[in-house]
Subunit: 157 residues, 2 copies
DNA sequence: TAATTGTGGACTATTATTGTCCATAATGAG
DNA sequence: CTCATTATGGACAATAATAGTCCACAATTA
């Protein structure tokens, strides 16, 4: 018995997690590893190897999203607004990349006038539900524990 | 066509299914609705409202991917290379957009030196498995049936 | 042989994402 | 009060990904 395995001709992979989300997670992990103090964008940028100016934009989003609090002025900086166990991956991803929803119709160029009866749509929503459920169960705390267990420098791992 | 639509603060949607996959599915549905004959790219383009030149590129990929067969010359065109029930969404998506892979490490800028022990990675692969399984269970036949049941013009629905 | 139709490559256009810059507001230290 | 510090917000630029176009050519058939 044999199988033909077809790889995409260019061997490209479709990425779900973009760089801004990646950077966000690094920043959040960094803050979680440094509780009770305020960490500047500059320090996070250097430690986590993220372009400072871009990180600032990202931190603004995280601030507006209620993940971190910011404090201006000398000795100011950022700190987590919630417990690491109360921050999950889904909300970070959705804050950075938009809300996860797979319910756009597959068929045809004219939209779907009979969505309520559509079997596929049901299938779809089910998948969406599975994905969001999975992602919402991974917390910042989980990530931090992985880092600590690994004993790696700078939160890398 | 499905899309992971995400809303974030700017009401942006994060699309998982790109336009080329969308077009691909329209083309495949069109061919499935017209069995036993060869349909030109021009006809598909017009019926399914897809730019002809771009569709040609897409049909080339579908040909190389083994989804359709092509026949040059007068009265030539495209036709399905397999039964609609034997074509599933996952393979179409991966052919057009690349292999779905969520196993990129989350933590740190230095990659993951201890991947084998990583709890998150396990979680990740599990989610990937769930997604691919779901998608592979939706066939072109399912889509065609939806279209036929809907009785919509031009395969729309 | 001529008309038709797909192929392959190179090219351009458009859009999304990432990254940068600067003026300004808030904060705290001296 | 003044200055250094740090985040904020908006605009802008660079890059990358995606979508779309063009053209010469190969295959096919009337």
């Amino acid at each position: 018995m044999w199988t033909i395995i077809v790889h995409n001709e260019d061997d490209v992979t479709m990425e779900i997690i973009r760089r801004n989300t990646d950077y966000s997670i690094r920043a959040l992990v960094h803050l979680a590893l440094n509780p009770d103090i305020e960490v500047t964008a500059g320090e996070i940028a250097e430690e986590q190897d993220v372009p400072l100016e871009y990180l600032q934009k990202i931190l603004q989003k995280l601030t507006r999203g209620g993940f971190v609090n910011a404090h201006r002025g000398a000795y100011g900086g950022f700190y987590l607004a919630r417990e690491p166990k109360d921050i999950n991956l889904l909300e970070v991803i959705e804050t950075m990349q938009g809300k996860l929803a797979m319910n756009k119709c597959f068929l045809g160029k004219d939209g779907c006038p009979r969505a309520p009866k559509c079997v596929l749509k049901y299938n779809w929503l089910q998948l969406e539900q599975t994905i969001t459920s999975h992602l919402s169960q991974i917390t910042l705390q989980d990530l931090v524990e992985q880092v600590k267990e690994g004993g790696l420098p700078k939160g890398g791992g």
